[in-house]
C-alpha cells in the first residue's frame, strides 16, 4: 500500500515527462500508422472541442433566468442536417481509404523476407529460425531486413504483438497466420500476447532483440542448434516413413512432393489451391481433405502423432525439395 501512496504522490508531483505518451517507433510500419493515429487524434480533438465549446457557450448564454421562462419554438433546418451528415461522411470516406490502403500495404510481406516460425503455447512463445536456432520468449532479428513470421498455436488462440513495430496478429490453432516487419533501429522491444489465453496470459511476454546484420549472423552461428529446420524435417520424413509413398516421379502411391511448393495444385474436391504452408499442414493432419486426383485416400492422419514444431520442420523440408529434386528429376 505504501507503493500506492508513493505512486499517487509521484503521479501528482512528477513532471509530465514521467508519463510516457508514445511507444518507441522502430519499424518501417510504425511511421505510417503513427501519422494516421495523429490525424485521427486531431480530428477527435477538433470535434470534441467544437462540441464542448458550443455546448458550454449555450449553457451560459441560454441559462434559465426565471422559473417561468420559456424558450422560443424550434425551427428545423434541412441545410444544417445535411451539412452535419455530409461532412462527417466525407471525413469517414477519406479515413477509410487511407487506413485501408495502409493496412493492405502493411499486410503484404516483401517477396525477399527472412522467414521465422513462431509457435504459441500456454504460456510461452516458441521461435524457430530456419537455420536451426530456437528460442523461447525471445526473438532475435536483424535490423533493416524484412522479416516474415509464420505463426501457429499448439493449444488456444494467442496473439503476437510487438507494440514498437505496430504489428499484431492472432495466432490460431490449426492454421498459419503471418505478420511481417522491417526493424529500423537496434534495441530491445516488448513482445506481448494480446489475445487472452488463460491463467498466465500476462506472463506470455518476451523481448524482441533487433541486432545489426553482423551481430545477427554471429548470433545465428553461436547457437547450439546447428541443424537446419529442413534437415530436421528430412529426418522426420524418413522417421515417419513418408518416403515409402511419396517418392519422386509418378510411380509412388502418393504424389511426388518435389517442386510442388508455391505451385497451384488441382485437388480431388475440384478446387485448385496454391501449395503453401497451410496446405501442407492440412495434408499431414487431415490428408483426405486435400487429396490429389489419381491417388487413393489411403494416407492416415498424423494428427496427435506429430506436434506443430515437427509439422513446421516437415514443411521446411518440402519447401527445400523445391529446387533440388526438381532439377535432379529433370
Amino acid at each position: 500500500m505504501t507503493g500506492f501512496i508513493q505512486c499517487v504522490l509521484s503521479s501528482v508531483t512528477a513532471p509530465a515527462a514521467m508519463i510516457p505518451l508514445q511507444p518507441p517507433a522502430a519499424s518501417t510500419i510504425a511511421g505510417g500508422v503513427d501519422k494516421l493515429y495523429y490525424v485521427l487524434t486531431g480530428i477527435t480533438a477538433f470535434f470534441a472541442v467544437l462540441i464542448f465549446s458550443i455546448i458550454f457557450y449555450f449553457m451560459v448564454k441560454y441559462r434559465r433566468r426565471s422559473d417561468d421562462e420559456q424558450a422560443p419554438p424550434t425551427h428545423t433546418s434541412l441545410a444544417l442536417e445535411l451539412t452535419w451528415t455530409i461532412i462527417p461522411s466525407m471525413i469517414c470516406a477519406v479515413l477509410f481509404v487511407w487506413a485501408s490502403a495502409l493496412y493492405v500495404r502493411n499486410a503484404r510481406p516483401p517477396a525477399a523476407s527472412n522467414e521465422i516460425f513462431v509457435i504459441g503455447k500456454q504460456w510461452m512463445w516458441h521461435v524457430q529460425h530456419p537455420e536451426g536456432p530456437r528460442e523461447i520468449d525471445e526473438l532475435h532479428v536483424p535490423v533493416g531486413v524484412p522479416v516474415k513470421l509464420t505463426m501457429t498455436s499448439q493449444d488456444v488462440i494467442h496473439d503476437f504483438y510487438i507494440p514498437a513495430f505496430r504489428v499484431k496478429k492472432d495466432v490460431l490453432p490449426g492454421r498459419y497466420t503471418s505478420i511481417w516487419f522491417e526493424a529500423t533501429e537496434t534495441g530491445t522491444f516488448h513482445l506481448f500476447c494480446a489475445q487472452y489465453c488463460g491463467t498466465n496470459h500476462s506472463q506470455m511476454i518476451g523481448w524482441v532483440y533487433v541486432m545489426t546484420p553482423t551481430d545477427y549472423a554471429e548470433w545465428l552461428a553461436g547457437g547450439e542448434q546447428t541443424v537446419s529446420m529442413a534437415q530436421q524435417g528430412e529426418r522426420l520424413f524418413s522417421q515417419f516413413g513418408c518416403g515409402t509413398c511419396h517418392v519422386s516421379g509418378n510411380n509412388g502411391r502418393g504424389p511426388s512432393l518435389a517442386g510442388i511448393y508455391g505451385k497451384p495444385e488441382k485437388l480431388a474436391s475440384g478446387q485448385t489451391q496454391v501449395v503453401d504452408e497451410g496446405l501442407i499442414r492440412q495434408a499431414i493432419v487431415n490428408p483426405n481433405s486435400v487429396r490429389v486426383p489419381g491417388y487413393e485416400a489411403i494416407m492416415p492422419t498424423y494428427q496427435g502423432q506429430i506436434d506443430e514444431e515437427q509439422v513446421l520442420q516437415l514443411i521446411a523440408y518440402v519447401k527445400s525439395l523445391g529446387s533440388e529434386e526438381r532439377t535432379n528429376g529433370q
Partner: protein
C-alpha cells in the same frame, strides 16, 4: 377498472390492457410472428455454421450425409406435412364454429402425427445411429475416409434435428393444452386466437424440417457415384 364496464359483453379471454378484441387479436398474432422471427435467427445461427462448414468440407459432408437413410427423412417430411394440414383444418373448424368435437379430433390427429414423427426419428434413426456408432461425443466408431469432417456433419445433424425435435415436443405440449381448452368450450368463431397463433408455431416447425430434409439427407445427391 371501472371503465372496463363500458365495454360490455366481452368474449372470454379478453385482457384488461386492450381496448378492443380486434386489438388484442392483432397484438397476439404480431407477437407470435415476431417470436417466429427470433426462431428464424435461432435456427439461423446453426444454418450459418452449417453453410460455412459445408462449403469448407463439402466432400466430408457428403460422406456424412450418406450415413443417413433418405427413406426416414422423406417419410417424416410427409408426416409433418400431413400434420400441418390437420392443424390448419383444426383452426378452420374452430373459425367456422363447427362442432367442437371436430376441432378436437383434428387437434388429436395433429398430435399423433407429431408423435409419429418423433417416434420414427428417435427409434429408427437416432437409436440405430447409436448402435452403428455414428453419434459424435457419445458413440463414435466411424473411421472411413473424411472421418473428422463426417463427425462434424453428424454433430450438426444431431444438434439440428435435436433442436427441431425439442420444438416438436413443445408443440405437442401446446396442442395438449389447446385440446383441453377446446373441450372446455373456451373458443368460438369470435375468439380462437390461441389456436391460431399456436398453429403458426406448428407450421413454422414444419418449415424448419422442410429445409433440414434436403440439407441433411440429400447433400451432393444420392445417385450412384455421388
Amino acid at each position: 377498472m371501472s371503465e372496463l364496464a363500458a365495454h360490455s359483453a366481452h368474449p372470454p379471454g379478453f385482457a384488461h390492457q386492450f381496448e378492443t378484441v380486434a386489438q388484442q387479436r392483432e397484438a397476439g398474432k404480431l407477437g407470435m410472428w415476431v417470436f417466429l422471427v427470433t426462431e428464424i435467427l435461432f435456427f439461423g445461427g446453426m444454418f450459418t455454421a452449417y453453410t460455412v462448414y459445408r462449403s469448407l468440407h463439402l466432400q466430408a459432408f457428403i460422406t456424412g450425409s450418406h450415413l443417413l437413410e433418405v427413406k426416414f427423412g422423406a417419410t417424416n417430411t410427409a408426416v409433418l406435412i400431413v400434420s400441418s394440414l390437420t392443424m390448419a383444418m383444426a383452426i378452420r373448424s374452430a373459425q367456422t364454429g363447427k362442432r367442437k368435437g371436430q376441432t378436437i379430433w383434428w387437434l388429436i390427429l395433429t398430435m399423433l402425427l407429431g408423435a409419429t414423427f418423433l417416434f420414427l426419428k428417435f427409434r429408427f434413426e437416432w437409436y440405430h445411429d447409436y448402435v452403428d456408432g455414428i453419434v459424435p461425443g457419445v458413440s463414435w466408431s466411424y473411421h472411413g475416409p473424411y472421418a473428422p469432417g463426417a463427425e462434424l456433419f453428424m454433430c450438426f445433424y444431431f444438434f439440428m434435428t435435436g433442436l427441431h425435435a425439442l420444438h416438436m415436443i413443445v408443440g405437442i405440449g401446446i396442442l395438449t393444452v389447446l385440446t383441453v381448452m377446446t373441450a372446455r368450450n373456451k373458443f368460438s368463431p369470435q375468439y380462437y386466437a390461441p389456436l391460431e397463433i399456436s398453429g403458426l408455431y406448428w407450421h413454422f416447425v414444419d418449415i424448419v424440417w422442410i429445409f433440414l430434409f434436403p440439407l441433411l439427407y440429400l447433400i451432393g445427391g444420392r445417385y450412384p457415384g455421388s
